[in-house]
Symmetry: C2
Subunit: 200 residues, 2 copies
């Protein structure tokens, strides 16, 4: 009857230390730079110590990604909560928070979508992702205006737009510029356009 949550034996809390080290490496050098041996070094343990907490590299990255999805959820929650007004304002806040998170934390955002690096069957990971998507759909449902498309089409459109935009920005494919007609920041213009098209 050992309790996983209690401080462990030798290191103190190696699991937490490894996650912290992985996050540090991630922010500095990107997803591929997270190696078992490097995080072990940063935590001050041998290269084989992490296996007691993460069975392989994929498990470590899955845990990091799960944590980041929860962080993203919290950030979005905070932004949408303080937004007053019509449902469209809530949805707008949601999408803008998603975009802002990606631009502020490039490598964290990159890991979120490197599905080849994580265990996609992991329940905690799936739940963390689903939570966010479900909240978007729920927010869309608050809008009572007559829609041309169903709620999932709207969610997919907004999510795709935001994800595509952030991805391209992080890849350096387009620079942040204002629209020459509306004078808005480009990302604001495209989100607004899609919200209007969907009649949110």
């Amino acid at each position: 009857m050992t309790n996983r949550k209690r401080a462990p034996y030798h290191h103190g809390n190696l699991r937490k230390a490894l996650l912290a080290a992985a996050l540090k490496v991630l922010d500095k050098a990107g997803p591929d730079a997270i190696t078992i041996r490097e995080v072990a070094r940063l935590a001050g343990v041998s290269h084989a110590a992490p296996v007691n907490h993460f069975k392989d590299r994929t498990a470590l990255l899955t845990a990091v990604a799960t944590q980041l999805f929860q962080e993203l959820d919290a950030v979005i929650e905070k932004q949408t909560e303080k937004t007053q007004g019509k449902p469209v304002e809530k949805v707008s806040s949601f999408i803008n928070a998603l975009i802002a998170y990606g631009l502020e934390h490039p490598n964290r955002y990159r890991l979120l979508w490197r599905r080849d690096l994580v265990n996609n069957q992991d329940e905690a990971l799936q739940q963390a992702m689903d939570t966010i998507y479900d909240k978007l759909v729920a927010t869309l449902e608050r809008s009572t205006r007559k829609k041309r498309y169903d709620k999932h089409t709207s969610a997919v459109a907004l999510w795709s737009l935001a994800h595509g935009y952030v991805s391209m920005r992080l890849d350096g494919n387009f620079v942040p510029m204002a629209d020459t007609i509306t004078k808005q920041p480009r990302e604001q213009a495209i989100v607004e356009a899609v919200l209007a098209a969907l009649n949110i």
Copy 2:
């Protein structure tokens, strides 16, 4: 005065063979599976032979990516050429061709946007990418309807939407389904919605 284009000495045309092998590995196992040693094995040469044609792994992947961008350009060109009608039809064809390519060639599409694996300063690569984007902007310019947003905002919106949608689909985040209101395939609905919002 040697001519790079002529058949080389020992292998015949190792450069071409390496690129073909890399493409084969890519389709089967994804970008990360392309290793110098594996493509050398497939080409029947020693592990150090490729260095004469690609100075390192990044150079090899850059060449593959450049080739794929050219392939994508050709596919889009073919689709838009045979599309008759209003400018909006041309733009629609362009975006649909982009989406179709991604869904048909998942690993090729993935490599295109793995900027960490290629040399982003490579001129041929940049040119191949720019060619495609420039064609989208040029196609948008054919439309004479009064726009709410400038051509780059429109291009960014459409490109982001398509890229985000394909990325999420390839990650298995949403399944292909019809919109329950319009009965259209989801990707058709979202592209149509954005085209309408942009007044193309």
